[in-house]
């Protein structure tokens, strides 16, 4: 076989491999949609899944998670993990509203909150990267600190903004129906995508997560690169908190419960590895959309109490099954070779 043919073949092979990965995810999404269509044919289970309002709802609820997931994706690819994003989201929602209620102008309040997110990310980075503590525990603890701080600031009640303008940020619709929240989400997605794909920082993130020693020997500032990912993650988590507060026009310390684990699950379901070095913005988006669709579908199917309380368990079962099937497939491929 001549080189040209070889080239062509490998290109086909490698491209089909990626498409297949994405195909699998699309297949899963298609399956959910199809199942909902079938349920809609049966009078007893007819629901509002296919309404325009519901799709906007899905998009809006996925948006907050997606903003958080982008930062988490970057941290995971670099071989770390950040479980403080739930607490961060709740805390920054509370902070931005309290700042505004104290008379700080809206843009300044938002800027300060985002800065605070970066600062918390810096603390995470300092302890887990420079002091080499286990990021799993450090960021988990940081999340608890932030949740507790939010509780203290709000007396464990929810706080509302007194400025009517604040909620316009997330909820104003442009082009007829697209909320600004969705636009912000798309912007974060686009920036993360390009950063990971085309910048040398993005390449270094993959290198550091893929093999720390190799990256170090190749002259990459491994610690600074890894630390930067925590700063990014703190920023996106704070942004998610601000957007959530704007969307609801209120904030509370319990907003971030389970958020971190849900986001990590969605990112991993999308195909980003917890071991580092593998993943991407689009993958995480698909993982999130899939879980978002599933959650929504279960909610729509709440016809009797049995299903309504099983939906959380079902979601868990589906997450576990997806990851199990994936490693099962990989194990079989390995053994075939």
């Amino acid at each position: 076989m001549n080189t040209r043919q070889l080239n062509l073949n490998s290109r086909i092979r490698s491209s089909s491999r990626t498409v297949l990965g994405l195909q699998k995810a699309f297949l899963a999404i298609l399956l959910v949609v199809l199942a909902m269509a079938v349920f809609n044919l049966i009078p007893e289970t007819r629901n509002n899944f296919f309404s325009e309002a519901n799709f906007i709802n899905i998009l809006k609820s996925a948006s907050i998670f997606l903003i958080l997931a982008m930062g988490e994706t970057v941290v995971l690819i670099a071989g770390g993990v950040d479980l403080s994003i739930g607490g961060m989201m709740a805390f920054s929602g509370v902070v931005v509203i309290l700042l505004m209620n104290a008379g700080v102008p809206i843009p300044v309040a938002i800027a300060l909150t985002l800065l605070m997110g970066v600062a918390v990310g810096a603390v995470n980075a300092f302890i887990s990267v420079y002091q080499r503590a286990e990021p799993f525990i450090i960021t988990l603890g940081m999340g608890i600190v932030l949740t507790g701080a939010a509780q203290q600031l709000t007396n464990a009640r929810s706080v509302s903004s007194t400025l009517p303008d604040f909620q316009l940020i997330a909820n104003t619709q442009i082009l007829g129906w697209v909320p600004i929240l969705v636009v912000v989400m798309l912007a974060v997605l686009a920036v993360t995508y390009w950063m990971l794909r085309s910048t040398s920082f993005g390449r270094n993130v993959y290198a550091v997560g893929g093999d720390y020693e190799v990256a170090k020997y190749s002259g990459i500032n491994v610690r600074r690169t890894k630390a930067a990912t925590y700063l990014i993650c703190g920023l996106t988590a704070a942004l998610g908190g601000v957007m959530l507060a704007s969307q609801l026009n209120s904030a509370s310390s319990i907003a971030g419960e389970n958020t971190a684990l849900y986001v990590v699950c969605a990112v991993v379901v999308g195909g980003t590895s917890v071991a580092g070095g593998v993943g991407g913005a689009i993958k995480s988006t698909i993982g999130l959309l899939l879980l978002g669709l599933l959650t929504n579908a279960f909610n729509q199917l709440r016809i009797d109490s049995l299903v309504s309380y099983l939906s959380t368990a079902l979601l868990g079962i589906i997450i576990v099954s997806i990851l199990w099937l994936d490693s099962y497939g990989r194990k079989r491929r390995r053994e075939a070779v």
């Binding site: 070889l6 993959y206 893929g210 093999d211 190799v214 020997y217 190749s218 002259g219 070095g277």
Partner: protein, 502 residues
Amino acid sequence: MVVASAPEAPSAPEALLHVKDVSKAFPGVKALDRVTLDVRPGRVHGIVGENGAGKSTLMKILSGVYEKDSGEIVFEGNVIDKITPVQSMNMGLSIIYQELNLVNTMTVGENIFLGRFSESGGRAGVHAKAKALLKSIGSKVSTYRQVSELSVSDKQMVEIAKALSFDSKLIIMDEPSSSLTADEMEKLVQIIHDLKSKGIAIIYISHKLDEIFGFCDVVTVMRDGRVIATRDVSSITRNEMISMMVGRTIENEFPPRPDCAGETILEIKNINTRKLKDVKLTLRKGEILGLVGLVGSGRTELVRALFGADKVAKKSIYLEGRPVKISSPMDAIRLGLAMVPEDRKLQGLLLGFSVEQNISLAVLARLTEYGFINTKEEAAVGDRQIKALNVRTPSAKTKIRTLSGGNQQKAILGRWLEMSPKVLVLDEPTKGVDVGAKYEIYLLMKKIVEAGGAIILISSELPEVLNMSNRVNTICEGRINGEFDPVTASADEIMAKAFEFA
């Protein structure tokens, strides 16, 4: 070649372990080639050979870690075909690895009876039995102490006690002395004598010929996966043994030696770490400097220290006559120093990256404008190196994990050549590389120095060093202890120095 089996004394007892024509191949290497070996009870059987001679592979087959491809192993009259490490221990064959296999967070007693806690009479029984076993080899270590607190020597005692707890008839010791002090070594020798008198056979793997001549009865010399000879220690001399170990015929597998050494480019005036003692080294422009030393001699530490990968107490390095400060690999690369590490998979390759991305890794900064990678430039760099090094890959975008070892190695070389380093350190550059690719790598080395670069070549393959370098330094126990002209020096001389015989 020397005939494999030497005449044994007529009174020699029946063989306990009988290895016959055992072969084992890994992709690209024949690790063992029809190895035949007899081990008799109550004997200490030494096995010597250079790194990669096949000693470890043989031991791993005996203990059941690897499976042999062909041949026959008979232990106590039973043919052993497929066994697991646990089965082999239960049969009475124990192996004490160099990197000791103990659970650091458990106590001495628990370690000795690991996995046999309830059969051994629970907590009380385990500690009582462990104490008795340790006492039988003269060790006073408390069985309640945590293993992590013990010295290496005491850990070895625990391993030996563990072997005895299985009623072992054969104990294999893989370079047990490498981390012992002289006193601890004496203790070990005493124990070996005790075990011997109990009729237990011992296979003693070592680099140190002193030990072979000190207390081994029989010695087997291995080289390139083959048994060169098995002799009674009393009937062999040191020099005979060394020449058997290194004496392979050197064919025309090397290009002509480069001859373009110029003025000094790198001068290590002093490096001191826990393992390195006052290391001094000079390297000239256009020169290939061979560095010969055994695993554990400090050669890897030297390179890591030079590159700033490890923290170093005292270091004084001059590059092109100016003192330089290298506190991280980043600094080293900025100064034009590059290294191809020994373990490609661990320190060289990014398996998830494409060939092109692996090549561009060290020069990424140069290819970046406003934070974005110029993909056209990157593709050009990849193509250039792939062509120049003749890397056989379906495309530059192919994942590097699918390439053969030789092609992976060439791609990694490409990463460093792209930055045109002033000094290139090659640590075992041809390990696991097939003969054809080896020659290409040698040619490349020649091209690099002829273009004004300088190379430090670290290799366990003496012929490679002898044929490619302009000067050879030996390193032993953290010291540079010899300098040779490879044109006139003999392999035996250099090895003797690396083994510190002089």
